[in-house]
Assembly symmetry: C2
Homo-oligomer: 336 residues x 2
Amino acid sequence: MNTPPKPDRIQRLSFGFMASKVLFSAIEFGLFTELAEGPLNPGEIQKRCGLHSRGVRDFLDTLVALEMLERSGEVYSNTSETDFYLDRSKPTYIGNYVDISRLREYQVFDKLSEALRTGEPQNEIKSGDEDWVDALADPGTLRFFLRGMTGHSLPSAMAIAKEFPWAKYRTFADIGTAEGCLPVRVAMAHPHLVGEGFDLPTVRPFFEEYVASFGLQDRLRFRVGDFFKDPLPAADVLVMGMILHDWKLEVKMTLLKKAFEALPSGGSLIVYEHLIDDERRKKVNGLLMSLLMLVETQGGFDYTGADCSGWMREVGFKEADVEALIGVESMVVGIK
Amino acid sequence: MNTPPKPDRIQRLSFGFMASKVLFSAIEFGLFTELAEGPLNPGEIQKRCGLHSRGVRDFLDTLVALEMLERSGEVYSNTSETDFYLDRSKPTYIGNYVDISRLREYQVFDKLSEALRTGEPQNEIKSGDEDWVDALADPGTLRFFLRGMTGHSLPSAMAIAKEFPWAKYRTFADIGTAEGCLPVRVAMAHPHLVGEGFDLPTVRPFFEEYVASFGLQDRLRFRVGDFFKDPLPAADVLVMGMILHDWKLEVKMTLLKKAFEALPSGGSLIVYEHLIDDERRKKVNGLLMSLLMLVETQGGFDYTGADCSGWMREVGFKEADVEALIGVESMVVGIK
């Protein structure tokens, strides 16, 4: 009898949804926030998070095996990663993005097969024109979405604040800014810069509240605008993060052209996304994000760094280079 | 500014549910079955699987990145693992187990937080006595469940057929046999053995059909029985696979005692499960399976090899040793 191949990749992959859910529950319970104050034993965790004794050890040890917690003797503590990103009381909390996965994407993505069969989104905008404004008319939903976007953007925003040669520039604008996560990170790191957050009018109070919480209201202002109807702000640097992937190619090209037109000569456009590797063989998160755009948008898709730099050159940028950021995302920098 | 920790573990884990769903859809579409006949390009795959052009490349390249497919130029083919385990036309197909995850566990596990708060299962047996017979009264549901159990058991059954010293024994019985996956694999590999599948009466036709499809009806017979009400069959070797984890400790001990009583001196009990590593730090699938028992049963839980060999010694087995199997599972062998 020949030795059969190992089934372990299939077995691990088919249990992946449960691993995600364990992380989602831990964030929901505020577990990492509790542990940020110091290590706790299972009994203390049960009390603070309101858990039953039956599953608590399995729950905590699963988080250890997933490298989300550390365990020493009988006490559990955060890893440096979960302490930094999943403690609600820190400004670097990204759990609001994970909450979107827990409360929305887990259910919408259950209809992946139907989306693959029809090419149509499987959310509330299943037919008709896609319109974020309608979907986000309720202020509670809008806040939930905007906070999620802050969690989504934060690791890249921190890396862009650090890696991009901001010393060369004086002004910047973030297109589709949401709460202003990127402008805040950039302004904090570079006191010489003045920036704008560009977004729809309903977003303004959330941006202003967030920016003021960092004391940056003197250097960061909100500019009301619709990137389809209005010209983009004139600034030395424009940024589009997790914007282009929402739209079909024709719209992507329109937005890149508008950015090119708005920039001065020598100005830069930074696009950051879950870029797919050029060979489309490795970056699982970029490819999955593109499938999420399939179930959530009319024509959106994610793309490789080579795709994006090609499009940038096509609309006139003289340089367009790809650079990896801190997590699973990358940026493409175009210079006019 | 200090360099912040990388968020990539959190980012990958929080996208894990999408990775599972991509595998589930591929199995639903019969993709690996189509590719078992030979490599195909995206257009051919679209036609054979009934897919829309929009998402097909992202879908296929995600499967490449997840190591479920290979790609050479424009054509996609199975890996040796997916060809062996996910081609419906092979008797080694395990996709029926993955279908249970797709059609049932994905939805039930969405209630993990509630289960962790209450300690109660979140399925149709949310209150009252757990009763598999009631839940599986519909023959279609029963067939779906039993086929799933074959997919679940197959890798371990093949490994046990190969690794266990069957030459020393003449008879065996599989307790809670379902379709008889393990008896079939053992009987195929060892022509000197005669075996029994022990299960509830409704299971009989499914067992007999499956066993006959391998032409093994002369050496494998079905024995009607309820492992709570009836004594276990007398055989040189008894096997319990994915049985003990369904029940609380008291019931686990009762079943181990009954196995000990039924065996002759020198006889063996094989328990195979998704055992958790003794340190409870590494085996993610074993820990997740235990959380699945939380949402699906009244008191079930998975356990370590040390737990199980301890229980076996407690009921009288003189030896009880743990051995890894082919995939993520392991077995514990007790000798009376």
